[in-house]
Structures are given as structure tokens and as C-alpha cells.
């Protein structure tokens, strides 16, 4: 009885699901059906099983959970009839997840079915095994499969061959057993057996070097002959596709030849003729022929140098590229990326065509072409290519702008011949696609601007002009207000005009307009507003004549819904109002040149919180007004988005933008008699207009802890003089700062006097294992702790495969270096491993860590877990 043709109820279910108008309705029908199926499963009537399973498969396809039917699959597989087995195996492949215990139950049935007298049953078992087998099953059933590769019926042989590819992939050790069987398959005439045999050989070659050598020696010629035979074969209706005999087999053979020829000149030599023949004789007016050509080109490019063939291959790609069919152009672009590696010139010849593809209406083509263009750029063509891309950026689809602008930026950064060109191009990108530009890109732009002192005037004027037109591009606005804040006087006075500039007249009011616009625009985000606020403060000293107006703008922010903005507005306002004299001091001075090298290191992400950066905010206290809000502002959101590394590094960087400045301004102040003014100012700031005392005290503690860490760094600096120069300059002032805050803070911290030494702890101890931690702090970076973990085997057995894993709560960041070894000798054998923990809540929360240790004793897995709570305080 066929469960499907007779099963009206399955049809009914499908009909009623089809009739559903809404998703909710569908869910209802499915819920009811699932309940029926469960009930029916509980009744355990064998006649309902296949129907139930067929329904479950349908329900599963719709995306509903069907795990309760898994055991039904096993029962069907174990039943004697073929139809039941067939649906059972299908269910097994569709419904089962990789939960081993359920899969293990099926191993025995599979073994029986692989030895079944009915070859169709054997075929079912092979198919299921080939699709779902796990490593354990592979080990258990490999001998059966190996035997079946020699089975009399080709339909079994082909399935056994593919099943073997799964087995050797799961258990590479078994590869050797299959080499001989696989090579015998290559002599077959049956296409199915041949294609799967070739696939098995390919798999073996990639897994096992000996297999690769074996097939290279013994089978290359045979494979070439097979390929020649099918290329030249007479019309075979069963395998013919548009005049090509079995393109799938063609492609498989070419793939295998590629592996054999790669890295071996002799094998490559052997296949030259047949590749040339395929490349020249294959019909290219139909997809099947092009598929073969495409594969042939890839093989030619992968095997050892045969330059005449490569010319042929490049020509084929050129033809593909000018094809009107988008599919063909797509694969051409794909392949040209690989071709660049060995023949850049040949690909460069197609540059114009490739550039046209960047502008294609088809998103897939555009994406490929853009990747390719970015590989084609070099010092000679960067200007022309960038111009083309930027021109296109103006008219491209919105959803393409993100990719396109990112690529342009990376090209410009990498190949820019001079700074002014770099700045110009970046301004164009920001103007066209500023809202898509990532933080690190505009940060980098600011660093470059800061370093190009002769271009400050030019840049700020260019930005001013741009921002008037493109005020909706957030990152452009940010860069513009930063520059206006820093170089506003150059803007107004037309300082440093370059020959190429048109003179413009900008009044101080105009400059403030731009900043005010940014701060009041409803869709400006918090970073932009904060930057605008700082820019206003700076402008107030650059352009004293408009300080009244600036005061008004700042005052309006007192009503901001953002607490930080509100607070800074009040603080800034009081600076503008009450401390006119100190506005000229270091407080709002122009930033010194930002350090490109430091920024690049940080950007590369190798040091998420590098030693030098973390020290800087501590040094920045005289100017803390400016630094603190921004740091706070950014901290606020960086806490929530720890997952996105780019934005948190952005926060770091902004800290740094201000930090660098502050570092050296305090160094200056140390040399001149201004520190007094600075401290006064600080006291003022801390006392004035802060609405909530709680906040006041936290900021005091923050300042305190930073001062305290600074103290540490100064002691460390005595011994370690290789640190960056700003540090040395700052230590002098840091002591004073510490004193100052010491008097101010309610509870002077004890750790400061303890110095940086922390006692080692025993982090964990069991009957067989002991873990000790020793601690050290990197110079000037109090948030980070270096932990050296020592694992000691106190048992009489050797541990192997030792793995230490640790997890920390969100406010910590953990970096694990590799352990010194993964084996611990018995009775006191040791392994060490370095950990680096960064505590973003340093001074507020202590370290805590959960850990898991796995190892093997006499081949048995052991797992130990624990929590470490006894870290010294203040880490």
C-alpha cells in the first residue's frame, strides 16, 4: 500500500494549509495536526506511521518543530517493508538533528540494511549514511561501504563512492583504505560511477598527501584519456546537453586534474594537450559549454606554468566579459580575480570594461566588479580609477553606496600619492555617502588633517563649503565641525590660501551657524552633538566677538533630553561666562598633531586598549572638561554595543583625539606656571552647576582612579624608559594632580600606596590539579591585568590534551595566549599560560572568572569546572 496515493488525510492537511489566509491561521492548522500526530504516535499503530511521517516532513518544511517524530523514523527504518524503510530513511535525513544519541540508535539498522539482500534497500542505507553519518558511524560502517564500492550493480557502486567521501571527510584516517577502491572506479564506463569515483578521488587528494601522490602517478594519464573520450564521444542522447556530452562529468574531471596538476610540472605537462583541446573546441553558445570552458580556465590557471595555455584562458575570459549574458559576465569577473595573481597586465587591459560593470544595474555583477577593481588599483591608475568610482558614487543606488564608498576609502587610503589629494577624495566621498562611512574612516581622515598643518586652512574651508550643501551626511558634518572647532580662525580669516582655491568670505557668525545647525538638527546623533558642543567652546576662544551668541547656543542645550549634553552645556556655559580669562589658556587650545602611528596600530585592532592610550585621559585633567564628557558620552553607548568592535574602537579613538591633545597641553603647563590656573579651573568645574551630587562623586572617583594609575605608571617608568615620550612629560604633573585630588576626594585609595604589586593566588585546587595565578600590570594601563596561570598536575597520572577555557562577565575582556604545552607530566608537571584581562569597570568592580579545564587521563576525558572569586581587589 502506498501511503501517499491512498492517504487522503495527507492531502487534506496540505489542502487545509494551502487554504490558510494568514500565518496565524497556518500555525493553528499545524498545531492541530501535530497534536493528532502525537496522539497517533502514542497509539503506536504501525499503519499510521508512514502517513504521520509524511505529514511531519511537510510540517518540517514549513519550518515547525517536529522532533517528536524522530523515533518514528527509526521504527520505520527497522520495519521489514521497502516502502516503510524508504520513507523512514527520508525522514531520518530531513528531520533528525545531529543529536548523537538518536543517530547512534540507527547505526545497527544501517548495518543490517547495508548487508540486505535487496539492493534497493542497500541503496537507501547508503544514501542515508552518505548524507548524515557522524564520525562514529563512519568508523563503524566503513568496512561495509568499502565492500559495496565493488558491488555488481553500478547504482550501488556510485552511492558507495559518494558515501565514502563523507566517511573520509569525517574520519581522515580512513582515507588510506579507500585509495585502491577509488582508483578502480576511474576505469568505469558508467557515468554515474565515474562522476562519483572522480569525486571520491578528489576528496582523498585534498585529505591525504599520499593519496594525492598516488593518483598523480597512477591515474593522471587515465583521467586524461577519459576526458578525451567524453570530449570526442559521439552523440549520446542520455547525457547530451546542448551538444556537450555530460558537462557535469567534464567539470568533475577538470576539477580533479586541477588538483593533480597543481604544484607538479610533470602532471601539468601531461594535461596541456587535452586542456588546449577543451579550451578551443568547446562550443560557447550555450550555458553547458560555457560551464565547461569556465572550469577549464580555472584548471589552466591553477596548474603549473604553461604560458601558451594561459593566454588562451585569458582570451576566453575576455570573451566572457564582453558577453551580453550577465551570468557569463559574472563568472568572468569572478575568474579574473584569480587571474590577477599571475597576469596583472592582461587583466588591466580589461579595466575599462570592468569599470563599466561596476555601474551595472545588476547588484551581483556590481559587487564582483567592485572587488575586482579594488585589486586592479595601483599607484599609476589610482587617480583615474578613483575619479571614475567617485563620479559613479554620485548617481549609484542608495543600497550600493555603502559597499562602494568603503572600497573607495580603502583605495584612497592605500594608494594616495599626496595628502591634499587624499583629503579632497575623502571629502567627496563624505559628501556623497557620508552616512555610510564607518567610524574608523573618518577618524583616520581627522588624523591626516591634523598632520597636514599647511592644509588646515584649505581643508576647513573646503569642509565648510561642503557641509552647506550636504548637511544630511552625518560623518561629513562631524569632520566639518571638528575642523571648524579647531581651525575656525583659519576659516574666517582665509589663512593659508592655496593657489587653487577660490576666495570665500565667511564670517564668524557663518561658522557658528554650521555648528549650531548640527547641534539642533533633530537627526544628529549624540556623538555629533557632543562634538558640536566642544567645537562651540573652542570657537568661543577663537572668535571672542561672538561669544555671546555661542553662550546662547550652549545655554539652549541645558534643556537637552540627553543628560550628558545637559550637564556639559551647564559646565561649558559657566566656562564661557565666568572664566573669560582662562579661555585663552590651554583649555581650548588647538589640538597638537595626532599621532598617525598610534592611530594606525589601534585601528588595526591588535591592541584594543593599548598601553599608551589608556594613560592619556588621566593626564588630561586640566582639560578634563572637554575630555570627560566625550569619554562619558561614548562610554554610554559603547557599553551597549560591545559586540560591534568598530564602534568601540571609535570611542577609544575619540578619547584619544582629546587625550593626545590634553597630554601635551599639560606637558606645556608643567613647563609654564599655569598649572595653578588649571587646578582652579578643575575645582570650579567640579563644583559648579553639576545637578546631581552622585554624578559628581563618580566623576571624582574616576579622576581619582586615573590619577592613581598614573602614579603607578610613574613608578614603573623609573625602570622602564622605553615608553612613549608624552608619558615622561606627564609624570611630573601627574604627581601634583594626584595630590590635588587626594585632598578633594572623600576616600583616598589605598592601592595607590601599595603600588602595583599584587599577591599571587591559588585560583583552583582539586585532588589532581592546582592552578596558580600571578599578576602584573602593564605600564600605565590600570584596566589591564596580565595573568600568568600555572597549571600543576598533582596526580600520579600524566594529563594529555590539556585545554583551559575561561569566561568572564561583560565588563571584562579576556585574551588568552596559547598554553606552553598541552601535556602535563605526572607528579608536579607544569604548564603555563598567559591571560590578559581588561576591566572596563576598573576601580568599581573586581575581576571574576569562570573556567573549565579539559584533559585526558589514560585516554579518558576529564572535565573540571570552577569559578575564581579570590582575585586581589583593585585589579
Amino acid at each position: 500500500m502506498n501511503p501517499f496515493s491512498s492517504s487522503t488525510r495527507l492531502r487534506d492537511m496540505i489542502r487545509s494549509i494551502r487554504a490558510c489566509k494568514t500565518a496565524a491561521e497556518e500555525r493553528g492548522v499545524v498545531r492541530k495536526e501535530c497534536a493528532d500526530i502525537r496522539a497517533s504516535i502514542n497509539e503506536n499503530d504501525p499503519h499510521d506511521r508512514h502517513r504521520n511521517l509524511a505529514k511531519l516532513m511537510f510540517i518540517h518544511m514549513l519550518g515547525y518543530p517536529t522532533h517528536f517524530g524522530q523515533m518514528e523514523c527509526l521504527k520505520l527504518i527497522a520495519s521489514p517493508g521497502f516502502p516503510e524503510k524508504r520513507i523512514g530513511y527520508l525522514g531520518l535525513m530531513l528531520l533528525l538533528d545531529e543529536r548523537q544519541e538518536v543517530l547512534m540508535l540507527v547505526t545497527n539498522s544501517l548495518k543490517q540494511d547495508l548487508n540486505h539482500t535487496n539492493q534497493y534497500v542497500v541503496g537507501l542505507a547508503l544514501c542515508a549514511l552518505g548524507n548524515i553519518c557522524s564520525a562514529e558511524m563512519a568508523r563503524d560502517l566503513a568496512p561495509e561501504v568499502e565492500r559495496l564500492i565493488q558491488f555488481r550493480d553500478p547504482n550501488i557502486r556510485k552511492k558507495a563512492a559518494l558515501c565514502s567521501t563523507r566517511i573520509v571527510r569525517k574520519v581522515p584516517d580512513l582515507a588510506e583504505n579507500f585509495i585502491n577502491a577509488a582508483s578502480s572506479l576511474l576505469k568505469e564506463k558508467h557515468h554515474g560511477v565515474l562522476i562519483t569515483g572522480v569525486q571520491l578521488c578528489y576528496e582523498l587528494c585534498t585529505i591525504n598527501d599520499e593519496a594525492l601522490e598516488f593518483f598523480r602517478k597512477k591515474c593522471t594519464e587515465g583521467l586524461i584519456k577519459t576526458l578525451r573520450d567524453i570530449t570526442n564521444s559521439a552523440y549520446q542522447p542520455e547525457y547530451d546537453v546542448a551538444g556537450i556530452t555530460d558537462p557535469f562529468l567534464h567539470i568533475r574531471l577538470l576539477k580533479l586534474l586541477r588538483v593533480l596538476g597543481h604544484g607538479d610540472a610533470d602532471a601539468s605537462d601531461l594535461m596541456t594537450d587535452i586542456l588546449a583541446q577543451v579550451a578551443t573546441k568547446t562550443e560557447s553558445n550555450k550555458n553547458a559549454g560555457n560551464a565547461v570552458l569556465y572550469e577549464c580556465v580555472e584548471t589552466i590557471m591553477a596548474i603549473e606554468d604553461t604560458s601558451s595555455l594561459r593566454v588562451l584562458a585569458i582570451n576566453i575570459l575576455g570573451r566572457f566579459l564582453s558577453n551580453r549574458d550577465n551570468n557569463i559576465r559574472y563568472v568572468a569577473l569572478n575568474m579574473l580575480m584569480k587571474a590577477i595573481a599571475f597576469d596583472d597586465q592582461a587583466v588591466q587591459r580589461h579595466r575599462v570594461t570592468i569599470l563599466e560593470c561596476v555601474k551595472d544595474p545588476d547588484a551581483s555583477i556590481r559587487k564582483r566588479a567592485l572587488e575586482l577593481v579594488s585589486l586592479l588599483v595601483n599607484e599609476n591608475n589610482v587617480k583615474q580609477l578613483t575619479k571614475e568610482l567617485i563620479d559613479y558614487l554620485e548617481i549609484s543606488d542608495e543600497d550600493f553606496k555603502e559597499d562602494l564608498s568603503a572600497k573607495i576609502c580603502s583605495i584612497v587610503e592605500k594608494f594616495s600619492p599626496e595628502k591634499i589629494w587624499y583629503i579632497d577624495q575623502m571629502l567627496k566621498v563624505l559628501s556623497e555617502a557620508g552616512k555610510f562611512v564607518k567610524d574608523d574612516v573618518w577618524h583616520a581622515l581627522i588624523v591626516v588633517i591634523s598632520n597636514a598643518s599647511e592644509l588646515h586652512g584649505y581643508t576647513v574651508r573646503a569642509l565648510y563649503k561642503a557641509v552647506l550643501t550636504y548637511s544630511e551626511q552625518e560623518t561629513l558634518v562631524r569632520v566639518a565641525i571638528w575642523c571648524i572647532g579647531e581651525y575656525g580662525d583659519l576659516l574666517v580669516n582665509n589663512v593659508g590660501m592655496l593657489g587653487i582655491e577660490d576666495p570665500i568670505t565667511v564670517t564668524e557668525c557663518d561658522a557658528v551657524d554650521v555648528v549650531e545647525d548640527a547641534i539642533t538638527r533633530h537627526n544628529s546623533d549624540m556623538t555629533t552633538k557632543a562634538m558640536a558642543l566642544v567645537a562651540l567652546l573652542k570657537l568661543s576662544s577663537r572668535c571672542p566677538s561672538i561669544s555671546e551668541r555661542i553662550k546662547d547656543v550652549i545655554l539652549k542645550q541645558k534643556g537637552s533630553l540627553l543628560l550628558e549634553m545637559q550637564q556639559r552645556a551647564i559646565e561649558f556655559n559657566s566656562i564661557v561666562e565666568r572664566h573669560k580669562n582662562i579661555r585663552w589658556s590651554s583649555l581650548v587650545e588647538r589640538m597638537p598633531v595626532l599621532d598617525e602611528a598610534t592611530f594606525n596600530v589601534r585601528r588595526a585592532g591588535s591592541l584594543p586598549a593599548s598601553v599608551s592610550t589608556m594613560a592619556k585621559p588621566s593626564v588630561s585633567i586640566p582639560n578634563g572638561v572637554a575630555a570627560a564628557p566625550l569619554v562619558d558620552l561614548l562610554d554610554l553607548d559603547s557599553d551597549d554595543i560591545l559586540a560591534a568592535p568598530s564602534s568601540s574602537s571609535g570611542a577609544d579613538f575619540l578619547q584619544d583625539l582629546l587625550g593626545v591633545d590634553l597630554g601635551s597641553s599639560s606637558a606645556q603647563s608643567g613647563a609654564t606656571p599655569t598649572p595653578k590656573a588649571g587646578t582652579d579651573l578643575l575645582l570650579d568645574i567640579l563644583s559648579i552647576g553639576t545637578p546631581s551630587p552622585a554624578q559628581n562623586s563618580t566623576s571624582a572617583i574616576d579622576l581619582l582612579s586615573t590619577a592613581d594609575m598614573n602614579n603607578n605608571s610613574s613608578t614603573a617608568l623609573d625602570t622602564l624608559s622605553s615608553s612613549a615620550p608624552p608619558h615622561i612629560a606627564t609624570t611630573a604633573s601627574a604627581g601634583g594632580m594626584f595630590d590635588l585630588l587626594d585632598g578633594l576626594s572623600p576616600s583616598p585609595s589605598k592601592e595607590a600606596t601599595n603600588g602595583p604589586a599584587y599577591p599571587p593566588i591559588v585560583a583552583y585546587e582539586s585532588s589532581s590539579l592546582k592552578i596558580e595565578f600571578t599578576f602584573s600590570k602593564p605600564t600605565g594601563n590600570p584596566q589591564t591585568t596580565n595573568v600568568e596561570a600555572t597549571f600543576i598536575n598533582i596526580s600520579p597520572n600524566t594529563f594529555t590534551d590539556f585545554v583551559f577555557q575561561a569566561a568572564v562577565p561583560k565588563f571584562l575582556q579576556l585574551h588568552l595566549d596559547p598554553a606552553s604545552s598541552n601535556a602535563l607530566p605526572a607528579n608536579g608537571g607544569k604548564v603555563t599560560q598567559n591571560l590578559r584581562v581588561t576591566n572596563s569597570q576598573h576601580g568599581k568592580k573586581s575581576l571574576v572568572m569562570r573556567m573549565r579545564i579539559g584533559y585526558k587521563v589514560n585516554g579518558k576525558d576529564v572535565l573540571e569546572e570552577g569559578q575564581i572569586n579570590n582575585f586581589p581587589r583593585g585589579l
Binding site: N2, F4, L90, D97, T196, T206, V241, E295, D362
Partner: protein, 156 residues
């Protein structure tokens, strides 16, 4: 050497999934050759369908890159056939494979349509089983693919 085999174990596997989806974006057949949870499948199918169905223009190519998959798709009447493959798979060959799949189904059902697949889901799967195993093509001859299925039909 150990490192190498480690690297190769995570190797590419060719076809990673096959989907048949109607014009409304409803899945009519889904066969995965790698393990994904139900939630992942739903999300993936939703994303792919949205992406492919938005590309209605005849001129556009049949390949869409999505996450780390490449989707090769082709529309036959009201049904989309979508095959997810690895990055380095021959896209044109997959396109040819889709055509072979459709021809095979045509031969069995006689001009296959959405309803044939819905009401004979298991048959469609049996055909796929004969054509693809573990992400690799097993058989390219329509007669060979269909003979076991026809044999079973006769037996009943």
C-alpha cells in the same frame, strides 16, 4: 600535516542546500546537506527568498551572494529553484544542474508545477536523493534517476 587535515576537514562541500519556492515566497521543498537549526533555516530561507524575488528583471544574472553562500537560482513558471553552493563552485554548472532537475521532474510529472511538488513531496525528495548525495551530484542521466522511482510506482 595535522594542521592540513584540520583545514581540509572544514572544506567546501559543493551543494549546501536546494530550495523550491513559489512566487509568494513560500517554501515548497527544502533539502539541506549541512546541519542548520530550524530557526537558522527559517531566517536563511526568508533572506534568500527576499533577495532573489526582488531581482525580477530578466536581464539580471542568476547568482546572488548571501552570507558565505552563493545562491544560484532560476525561475520556471511560478516556481523558483534555488541552490546554495560554496564560493568556489562552478555557478554555470549549478545552473545546468537546476535545468536537469527540472527536466527530470518534467519527465516524471509531465510539466511539473508547484502542486505536483506539494502533493508529491516525498517523490520530489526521492528524485533529489538519486541526483545529489552529501552535496555532490550522483547521477546525470534522467533515465537512471527515474528508474528506481518508476520501479516503486509499478510495484504498487
Amino acid at each position: 600535516k595535522i594542521e592540513r587535515s584540520e583545514r581540509e576537514r572544514g572544506r567546501k562541500m559543493g551543494i549546501r542546500f536546494i530550495l523550491m519556492v513559489n512566487k509568494q515566497g513560500q517554501t515548497r521543498l527544502a533539502q539541506y546537506y549541512e546541519w542548520l537549526t530550524l530557526e537558522e533555516r527559517r531566517a536563511l530561507e526568508g533572506e534568500i527568498v527576499r533577495k532573489c524575488l526582488a531581482r525580477n528583471d530578466q536581464q539580471q544574472c542568476s547568482f546572488v551572494e548571501h552570507r558565505n553562500y552563493k545562491i544560484v537560482y532560476r525561475r520556471y513558471a511560478s516556481l523558483f529553484f534555488m541552490v546554495g553552493v560554496d564560493d568556489d563552485e562552478n555557478e554555470l554548472a549549478i545552473l545546468e544542474f537546476i535545468h536537469l532537475l527540472v527536466e527530470t521532474m518534467d519527465k516524471h510529472f509531465g510539466n511539473v508545477c508547484e502542486l505536483d511538488i506539494m502533493f508529491h513531496l516525498e517523490k520530489a525528495h526521492f528524485m533529489l536523493e538519486e541526483m545529489v548525495m552529501n552535496g555532490c551530484i550522483v547521477e546525470t542521466s534522467k533515465a537512471n534517476i527515474l528508474s528506481p522511482i518508476q520501479l516503486m510506482d509499478k510495484a504498487h
